[in-house]
């Protein structure tokens, strides 16, 4: 087992209260595996991995509970010196925006040589030779002369290639790629993904790919964890997740994105409402307020991540990994295909009286723990429970 995360719980202390960013996440990763972490902004997918790397924004963010075992070493309480040694050498990370993750006032050469020399006892000249090799490997023409350039002299796609070259410079065992292609055009995205896939497969590097794009994980990963509001709500192998999605949120996501290869009569079924306010301690299932399958139980009890088919042993890794969901009332296969409950007379349970969700839409300022809110993706995450706006005109009777 390369990486084993157990009950990871991350909180941010902010002026507006505690943000419950990650709420008891557990997952495993074998060497050479590719795992997709899928979720919207605020789902905790990036924070989970920042916690693994112990790179949470300080002093707001802290790991409240849980263990992160990387090759038997618990990263949650490892000394900072060994963490520094580990980052880059054993676990490397690629971020969404290559412009902000490269230092604009240093040449590519300085940044690459620095990385290599920080972990390997080599002369600057040798490190430079290695840097040229790496740039050539990621497909940058005339690597020797491009090495003297600054990040702004590269295009977005090329900067991301440079980031990949730096990340793979030390042959890490695990590569965490956080939305590596979100800022790129689609043809450039294809270039970068192809490169990433080829290089990591050649080296047997394990990959955690964090993305909101179900299309990207479909072709890039072997297993997927779907995250919502700081929980893993569905875990399955990639073929299984797309063929038989069983959590209402996954089903909703698959029905709310248009497919390029769909028929012309494809109707989108949006997920109503907005993600929950992470400042409120979770009560019940976090997805209940937006869920079309919710029952009375969903409002009060949070379901654990359990196998879809009860009984038998649970495998957490590999192509035979057990399909697990956290849901009290999962959609049937037919309902998953239709995208809506088909049971005669079934109505989503209304919120119980007196619960915070029952007080109706109330909108508060965006503020808390927006350390990871990106302007591109919107700040839906930070919005409190203002779900349930009338969709059809005139249905509101407020006037």
């Amino acid at each position: 087992m390369l990486l084993s995360v157990r009950d990871l719980t991350v909180r941010f202390r902010t002026h507006d209260g505690t943000v419950h960013a990650v709420n008891g996440v557990s997952f495993d990763l074998e060497e050479g595996e590719t795992l997709g972490l899928v979720g919207e902004s605020g789902s905790g997918k990036s924070v989970t991995n920042l916690a693994v790397m112990r790179l949470l924004p300080q002093p707001a963010g802290h790991i409240e509970r849980g263990t992160v075992l990387f090759e038997e070493l618990d990263l949650t309480n490892a000394p900072e010196a060994s963490m520094r040694d580990l980052r880059g050498r054993e676990i490397a990370m690629i971020f969404q925006d290559p412009m902000t993750s490269l230092n604009p006032v240093l040449t590519i050469e300085e940044q690459m040589v620095e990385t290599i020399q920080a972990h390997r006892r080599v002369t600057a000249a040798d490190a430079r030779v290695r840097a040229i090799q790496l740039l050539g490997m990621v497909g940058i023409a005339e690597p020797a002369s491009r090495l003297r350039n600054y990040p702004h002299q590269f295009s977005g796609g090329m900067r991301q290639r440079v980031m990949i070259a730096i990340a793979l410079a030390l042959e890490p065992k695990l590569l965490i790629a956080d939305e590596p292609t979100t800022a790129l055009d689609v043809t450039i995205q294809a270039q970068v993904l192809e490169l990433l896939q080829r290089l990591t497969a050649e080296r047997g590097t394990a990959v955690i790919l964090i993305t909101h794009d179900l299309g990207v994980v479909a072709g890039m990963t072997g297993r997927i964890n779907v995250m919502y509001a700081g929980y893993i709500v569905e875990a399955a192998t990639t073929p299984e997740l797309f063929a038989k999605p069983r959590h209402p949120y996954t089903v909703g996501l698959l029905h709310s994105i248009p497919r390029l290869d769909a028929g012309s009569d494809e109707a989108l079924i949006p997920i109503e409402g907005v993600p929950p306010d992470l400042r409120l301690a979770p009560v019940g299932c976090p997805f209940a307020p937006r869920c079309a399958w919710r029952t009375v139980q969903c409002w009060t009890e949070n379901p654990a991540l359990n196998p879809v088919e009860p009984g038998g042993s649970v495998r957490t890794t590999g192509p035979e990994a057990t399909h697990r969901i956290a849901c009290w009332n999962p959609p049937t296969a037919d309902e998953a295909t239709a995208g809506a409950p088909l049971r005669p007379g079934f109505e989503p349970a209304p919120p119980p009286a007196g619960s915070p969700q029952a007080t109706g839409p109330y909108v508060l300022p965006v503020a808390p723990g927006n350390a990871e809110v990106r302007s591109e993706e919107g700040a839906e995450s930070a919005m409190p429970g203002s779900h349930g706006f009338p969709e059809s005109p005139g249905s509101g009777s407020g006037r």
Partner: protein, 393 residues
């Protein structure tokens, strides 16, 4: 207030036929200058470089392309937010290319815009009610109480509680803000709405809400959309026809279903192949065409066909000189399907085309009146110069 619109045809009557907007040979060049006191003109960024398009009333025309291809500039130019360098823009029979002042303002009342970033496009110091009502103030529509009533009505139309009109933009989530942006665009009862990446800043679960809202409003108010986006899946979903732009020019224009079923321009094929499809079973059957390099600098576009520097087909055909020397014009390959490529016949049913879309070309879509090559739709490959396995390998 909907009856105040002048020259309003009977609702739904003209859908499909009448041309609402006609653009011919539109060019928008931005000058590049050097020097502070004496600005020397040293070149031009050719953002839009000769685009001709027509929008029929009631349709949605999708405009796709990568960043820097000129799609947003085109959208803004037809609203006259930029002054065209050359070409003509005709809106309902009226040439608006050089309109100024009151005449321009009158036309702008008929065409509105929805912007990408719902954070930057709403004035943070105005209440959302004030934002939605501002177009009514600008165009002096109705009395104050009528305007207030219209704002309430607009809030309900876009699915917001009218009681929120007194709140400020920062109190809303991204999806709700985009609804405010939509309500503002609707306020003056426009005919044409230019939507520039209206959902790309939103989370996936929210995107569908806005897309469905736009579709509903179109049916309700007979709107015509120019829908600009880089996400081909969203564009294909909402559009009747799609224009693909590359470096300031339109390279392919087709009914949206057909664009996916039978793409004919090498760039469109590559673009489609690059879009990931959320289905591993389909993904395993597709093969990406990995284009080399980046989009060239629009200040110095390559001669001839702008795409020739990255074209997979040109390489296969042994780099014909035509691609570099002659600018390909849009030509009709089937009903409503136009392509600007000298070698368009080589694309149809090529290995690349089939691998990009993941299944054999739909014969019905491809044969809609070409008449050219109607051998039965059997072989997945057309005989061709000894095909290298695939540029994607």
């Amino acid at each position: 207030m909907s009856e105040t619109r002048p020259g309003d045809a009977a609702p739904g009557a003209a859908v499909g036929g009448e041309r609402l907007l006609e653009v011919s040979g539109l060019k928008v060049h931005f000058p590049i200058t050097r020097g502070i006191v004496i600005e020397r003109h040293v070149g031009d960024v050719r953002a839009v470089d000769g685009v001709s398009l027509a929008l029929r009333r009631g349709e949605t025309l999708g405009l796709v392309g990568e960043s820097g291809c000129g799609k947003s500039t085109f959208g803004r130019a037809i609203l006259r937010l930029y002054r065209p360098t050359a070409g003509r823009i005709v809106f309902e029979g009226q040439d608006i290319t050089t309109l100024e002042g009151a005449a321009l303002r009158a036309v702008r009342r008929r065409m509105q815009m929805i912007f990408q970033d719902p954070y930057a496009s709403l004035n943070p110091r105005m209440t959302v009610g004030g934002i939605v009502g501002e177009p009514l103030d600008i165009h002096s529509i109705g009395t104050r109480s009528e305007r207030r009533q219209r704002v309430q009505e607009l809030f309900e139309i876009v699915g917001l509680d009218p009681a929120y009109a007194v709140r400020y933009p920062h109190e809303f989530s991204g999806g709700q803000r985009q609804r405010v942006g939509v309500a503002r665009a609707l306020a003056v009862n426009p005919d044409l709405i230019v939507a520039d990446e209206p959902v790309s800043a939103l989370d996936v679960s929210i995107q569908a809400q806005i897309v469905n809202l736009l579709e509903r409003l179109q049916a309700q108010f007979q709107l015509t959309y120019l829908f600009i986006a880089h996400d081909l899946s969203v564009v294909r979903h909402i559009s009747d026809r799609i224009a693909v732009m590359y470096l300031g020019r339109i390279v392919e224009l087709a009914p949206s279903r057909e664009l996916y079923d039978a793409p004919r321009h090498p760039y469109t094929v590559a673009l489609i192949s690059a879009v990931p499809i959320p289905d591993p079973a389909v993904e395993s059957k597709r093969r990406r065409i990995i284009l080399t390099g980046d989009v060239p600098n629009p200040a110095a576009p390559p001669p001839g066909c702008h795409f020739h520097t990255r074209c997979w087909l040109r390489e296969r055909l042994g780099n014909p000189a035509e691609c570099v020397e002659v600018e390909p014009q849009l030509r009709v390959v089937s009903r409503g399907h136009e392509v600007a490529c000298h070698f368009v016949e080589q694309v149809d049913r090529s290995v690349e085309q089939i691998r990009a879309i993941g299944h054999a070309v739909n014969p019905a879509a491809g044969s809609a009146g070409t008449g050219a090559s109607q051998d039965p739709p059997v072989p997945p490959q057309r005989p061709m110069a000894p095909a290298p396995p695939s540029p994607s390998a």
